[in-house]
Symmetry: C2
Subunit: 378 residues, 2 copies
Amino acid sequence: MILAELRTPALVLDRGVLVQNCERMAERMQGHRVRLRPHLKTAKSDRVASIATHGQFGGITVSTLAEARYFADRGYRDILYGVGIAPGKLEEVAALQAEGVKMTLTTDNRETALAAAERAATLDSEFEFLIEVDTGGLRGGVSPESEDLITLGQFINAAPRLTLQGVMTHAGQAYHCRGAQEVAQVAEAERAGVTLAASRLRWAGLRCPVVSAGSTPTAVHAASLMGITEMRPGVYMFYDLDQVGIGSCEIEDIAISVLASVIGHNRRAGRIIIDAGALALSKDLSAGEHLADVGYGMVCPADSMRPTAGLCVADVQQEHGLIGSTNGGEPPYERLPIGSRVRILPNHACITAAAHQRYQVVDGDNAIVDVWDRISGW
Amino acid sequence: MILAELRTPALVLDRGVLVQNCERMAERMQGHRVRLRPHLKTAKSDRVASIATHGQFGGITVSTLAEARYFADRGYRDILYGVGIAPGKLEEVAALQAEGVKMTLTTDNRETALAAAERAATLDSEFEFLIEVDTGGLRGGVSPESEDLITLGQFINAAPRLTLQGVMTHAGQAYHCRGAQEVAQVAEAERAGVTLAASRLRWAGLRCPVVSAGSTPTAVHAASLMGITEMRPGVYMFYDLDQVGIGSCEIEDIAISVLASVIGHNRRAGRIIIDAGALALSKDLSAGEHLADVGYGMVCPADSMRPTAGLCVADVQQEHGLIGSTNGGEPPYERLPIGSRVRILPNHACITAAAHQRYQVVDGDNAIVDVWDRISGW
């Protein structure tokens, strides 16, 4: 099978680029003497995980319990669920633990810890927690300077069947930076905040073996990760246009694309119409914060991952993508005849990949060398 | 099982509202003496389709060949694939036809028709076509006044193994209208354009038994559908905030919501954090074109589909939704304690539903009365 024979739209993953991205991140973390706990929310694939964890300690991060179940069923035994646990999910966590999976949970509040202590007794289970710390992302987390951090740590530490394992943070504001210098400042704020939280817990007599941080931008550009024990980047495996805009990678580091077919030319509207739209590409516009004229994705010839200058997916409807010229002129109808194929580089790999059920794997050319499944839903 | 016991996030569908929406649309189309060919791109579910086609002629519309296969396997035998056919998909169409499914295809160009004629011979098959006409949506379609319409009709008519069945259009610009009057104008432009195209084909001596049109807004607000033989609305089964904003329905007509759990309170950021984010809700912001302060969705108590005034999902990350107050004040932390649940009304039902693998079906209260599957992917 070759790309020209695939039913479109299809999610295409270049294995060589993936392997290179994973090796570089592993080397970078080894250089910092920090463990890599890859976040599999982007890839959601066992085959990608096996590349991302090669040579590492085997621990992974997930964003859903469906991912936890999928990876547990495939042999992973050390799983950090990186989203604040909802009390209603504890029974499922206990079931995974009963099968021998070491689950680490996160929370930023006493209500959840109390519910966990109560459920642990009912379920005859135990739960291990990291306290989520807000280092500027303004999503979840207690402030590292707060009294709440200490009282929550003391509460978890004192609660029967709960274990305090440490602290974790995600400096989501790194996604709104541009360039290495800005990201490095956020990375230092992330490091300073999460290590301060760890130090304050330790000063209060609490144990804090795990100091977990990370996003792809901060993992790439941090000058120091001193005091951090593990990093949890995820999108680096695939990269995307948003990461190019932030400055985490170059366009040639992007490992995924959406293969689409040209189904029409609307010359009155100045649009080349493809069969990849809002579902196959997503409505994520994040790269537009950093890059001009990127729309819903950049357009490459089917046999390449080098975008054609001056073209983007200007609009999407459910199953239609509308390719337009970014300078207001005519798109190149002759170079993209009806029935021909293109590859679209996505704005945000995590969101685009989530719409697809499998990866069509290539390795630098047009041959499909493998098909890898992925897990979706909750 | 009740809503409070479901793993979150979950897609909840109220059957009573669904049935009422389907009955009203069926009555409306009967009043116009136009057949209803429901578009199943939104629901992608056999159980929803069986309600939507009750009392109708059984024909359906789909947006992917995966939907065509799913519905064919469940007994549907008259399927319009409403997206311009890519030549690479013709073999799959022929396979469906070989199983006794009457497939109708659409195109707006001679290249595709030529490819179809050639493939029909190779595959020992035949293909039936509607010519797509652009009535202002500026997506696909030839202009109804154009010479291209006639030459394409003549080409299809003359090609061995191809049959010209008629014309179709989708007035996508209706999604950017506000209120019945504006939509009614678009509906009349849609009707006038597609019936002009049909008349011109007939004047040229070509047959044109099918004159197919429709979107939910134009189906709801058209004053006349004279000359149209079938309408293809889809989102009316569920409705959503975008349709409320356009004026197609009221909030109480919305049949779907995303059930989510509160996992944190970030008082520094003024946000209540839930476990439904960019994947569970989508990043579709369409309702914001029409409605103020809707963000990524409106927030209802878990036991209700009546949104709480002054609240919306202000931001999303992959698995996090951030509920905020629309007036800049504090969100009601006490009314939404950690561990409690909310239901989010989506901006765009088609896109939100696509992230979910099943419907948790309720009927006016908290009891889960059924679980319905849905098809995804391509």
